[in-house]
């Protein structure tokens, strides 16, 4: 028997591009030794929609609504990052109150995103009751977002130069009621997710990533924080109203007393961030200054300002999944010369290889889900040559980037 298992041939298990464990298309190929993962490879790019291509043929006021549609969950993060970059290039000053509105909606987005993730994680573990509970609780934030912006998803509230809707005093009681709701239920959620025996045996010491590895793999967001890396764009380089707020990055040792960097820690970090978001929204409501919420009410004037702008900028935002980065380069035309999106999952996805190696098949879904992957955000490229999908090697990429640098150098 022992000899048999030693000589047992490995076999390949493909997971994806479509699989119940995956919420979005991506192809994993696992080389298995029995129930154990020996090697992992993955092929993203199944969700490419050419949004940047569309954007480069539109003006910033149009693009800002396109950015909302990059991702159904963290749309505000994308539009915020893009608006920030354009505002910096066009030297548009965002009114103080708009910063607070942006922070409030971004925090609501974080709440709903983390609760969505918590439900998915429970489902991946086969704990459907908790999945239904988490999504039911999530509805409250969706309702408030709809109440505030008019939409449940793709809120369309961010505009270059501010926000399109103000949150008025008479809306505050509804917001406060939802915060109270989450405050009341937070303890129960933490208890259900973190004290449950089956979740503990499934998640502790599973998909471990040390602090060093988290840094080496350039992970971002809750994935990095769960490994003990104190990194949060909101804290490190504050944008919107975060500079005025009192908070610190959430780390697992604040709750557990130590950092393991496993799936369990990622649950801890995300749930604690929900609690933190409640506090941040409260602070925003308390400190909201009066005034306008848009730099200029007349959109043609915003457009004109963007049209005149030349230069480049990077907009960074802490999306629920981690740092979301937009690079924009304007050259005096209505449409940007370059627009590049780098979503958080792009930085986090390589950690899969490390986390999945040596784990069991049973842990694949939860480990894959533990970085909260968003392929719609990540897939920015699809290589098609001669009518077929193709792969670009490192040499190809190097050649292409040299060519592009030369091209850009010629233009400027």
């Amino acid at each position: 028997m022992s000899e048999d298992s030693k000589n047992k041939a490995t076999f390949n298990v493909p997971i994806g591009p479509v699989h119940p464990a995956l919420k979005e298309p991506i192809l994993f190929t696992f080389k298995m030794d029995g129930e154990m993962v020996e090697e992992v490879d993955f092929a993203p790019g199944k969700c490419h929609r050419g949004i940047e291509w569309m954007g480069m043929r539109r003006n910033p006021v149009q693009i800002v609504h396109l950015t909302d549609r990059i991702c159904g969950i963290c749309g505000v993060s994308h539009s915020l990052a893009f608006a920030k970059a354009v505002e910096q290039i066009a030297e548009i000053e965002v009114p103080e109150r708009a910063h607070y509105v942006r922070a409030i909606i971004a925090e609501y987005e974080r709440i709903q995103s983390h609760l969505l993730w918590a439900g998915v994680a429970a489902h991946e573990l086969g704990f459907d009751t908790l999945f239904f509970l988490a999504w039911r609780v999530r509805e409250e934030s969706m309702d408030v977002i709809e109440y505030l912006t008019g939409n449940r998803v793709n809120y369309g509230i961010i505009q270059v130069g501010g926000v399109r809707r103000d949150f008025t005093e008479d809306q505050f009681p509804r917001i406060e009621a939802s915060l109270q709701y989450y405050e009341d239920i937070a303890g129960k959620l933490l208890n259900l997710f973190l004290e449950d025996k089956t979740i503990q045996i499934r998640c502790k010491n599973c998909g471990v990533m040390s602090k060093r590895e988290a840094l080496e793999l350039c992970t971002v967001g809750p994935t990095a924080r769960a490994s003990g890396v104190a990194m949060d764009v909101r804290y490190d380089s504050p944008y919107a109203a975060y500079g005025d707020l009192d908070f610190a990055p959430v780390l697992p040792h604040q709750y557990l007393g130590l950092t393991n960097g496993d799936v369990y820690d990622r649950i801890v970090v995300r749930l604690l961030e929900v609690v933190q978001s409640i506090d941040l929204i409260r602070q925003c409501l308390a400190n909201m200054p009066p005034g306008e919420v848009l730099w200029e009410k007349k959109y043609p004037k915003i457009l004109a300002a963007c049209k005149k702008a030349t230069g480049e900028a990077v907009g960074r935002v802490e999306a629920p999944r981690g740092e979301c980065l937009h690079y924009v380069r304007m050259d005096g035309n209505p449409n940007p010369q370059t627009w590049k999106v780098k979503a958080s999952t792009y930085s986090n996805q390589m950690s899969w290889l490390k986390m999945l190696k040596g784990e069991q098949i049973a842990d694949i879904p939860i480990v894959v889900a533990s970085i909260d992957p968003c392929m719609s955000c990540t897939d920015r490229v699809a290589v098609v040559r001669h009518g077929r999908t193709d792969i670009l090697t490192k040499a190809d990429l190097h050649r292409l980037s040299v060519e592009k640098t030369r091209r850009l150098a010629q233009w400027s």
């Binding site: 464990a21 704990f127 009751t129 239904f132 089956t198 069991q360």
Partner: protein, 344 residues
């Protein structure tokens, strides 16, 4: 009346058909009710109770696809075998006031063997599918099977042994254990310590049931988020419908076994009724007991837990439940000595 080898073919065939129909119908109804219970516990509305019937009707109207690298004979045989063997189990278990159809031709030990056959059919079907998911699922099913065998055997043996110790003839016969004719059950022969032991064994059996039926937390062989359905991943149409029916019948069989072993009481023992009314009342009470067993050992457990890893299944069933079973057995044995059961 024609009698061949001591069997009356007419009554046996008639009984078998009746039991098969009962098993299939009750299986589907209980699955529907169970889904409704689980849905309400999860704050959902859930599908209507007749949903399993619709599912089966739909599946039967669909094409049955046999994958290219499957072994067609084995692949198509497995669901038939699973359903047939599930029905055969029911033939040996008393149903309310009715004696088993094949009473006297097989006992508890045979039922234990028969319980593994549907699982083996699933394993064979899984291996014959030629899919890595199904292969992994089959391996897991075999491991699960080996895991729950020990606690199940302990529970079963303890009961039969206690009856034997009390001097009751033919203790391995399910008709004797259920006391269908005599009204004597393990609960009535056991002393206080024995009752504690049997309660422990009841807990063990309640936990063996989800493993036997591949439900959460032991649905590792099917694990939709891991293996997209595992064993059943390649099955479709008529074959899948047969497995679905087999699952329903097996649920009834497992619950009926638990009822026969641990909840054998009949209404007619306590209330004087005319023979026909007694049969009806006992049968209705039997269905109620089945529902209760399914509710506690399938619905409640599956709603309250996450899925185990296959290694956890082994350690929990061999370690914790095996240990608990042995403790229960020890209580029963001590009880027999203290009570000075007939044989000792």
């Amino acid at each position: 009346m024609v009698v061949i080898l001591g069997i009356d073919p007419v009554s046996v065939i008639g009984g078998t058909v009746a039991v098969a129909l009962f098993g299939i119908l009750a299986g589907l109804v209980f699955m529907g009710v169970e889904r409704k219970f689980a849905a309400h516990m999860q704050a959902r509305i859930g599908p209507p109770i007749r949903q399993p019937f619709r599912d089966v009707a739909k599946l039967l109207s669909k094409d049955s696809i046999v994958p290219e690298n499957a072994i067609p004979l084995l692949f198509n045989m497995a669901p038939v075998l699973a359903l047939a063997s599930s029905i055969v189990i029911l033939l040996y278990i008393p149903l309310g006031g009715f004696l088993p159809v094949l009473a006297g031709y097989g006992d508890l030990i045979l039922v234990m063997y028969l319980l593994t056959v549907p699982a083996l059919a699933l394993v064979a079907g899984g291996f014959a599918s030629g899919s890595p998911y199904a292969t992994v699922g089959s391996q897991r099913e075999m491991v699960t099977m080996m895991s729950y065998e020990l606690p199940l055997a302990i529970a079963v043996i303890a009961i039969a042994w206690r009856l034997a110790a009390a001097g009751i003839a033919d203790p391995f016969s399910l008709a004797t254990i259920a006391g269908t004719a005599t009204g004597i059950t393990v609960w009535s022969v056991a002393g206080p310590l024995g009752i504690i032991g049997f309660l422990l064994l009841l807990i063990v059996l309640a936990w063996v049931t989800p493993a036997e039926l591949s439900r959460v937390p032991c649905d590792t062989p099917e694990a939709e988020t891991e293996l997209c359905g595992g064993l059943l991943v390649e099955y479709s149409g008529r074959n899948l419908a047969l497995f679905y029916l087999a699952q329903g019948v097996k649920t009834v069989a497992m619950a009926a076994l638990a009822v026969a072993l641990f909840l054998p009481w009949n209404i007619s023992w306590y209330v004087a009724l005319s023979p026909n009314a007694a049969l009806v009342a006992d049968f209705a009470f039997f269905l109620l007991k089945l529902m209760a067993v399914i509710f506690f050992s399938v619905s409640v457990i599956r709603v309250g837990m996450a899925r185990f890893r296959i290694t956890h299944v082994v350690s929990i069933y061999w370690g914790y439940l095996g240990g608990l079973g042995l403790l229960g057995l020890l209580c029963v044995v001590l009880d027999a000595y203290i009570g000075g059961g007939g044989m000792l």
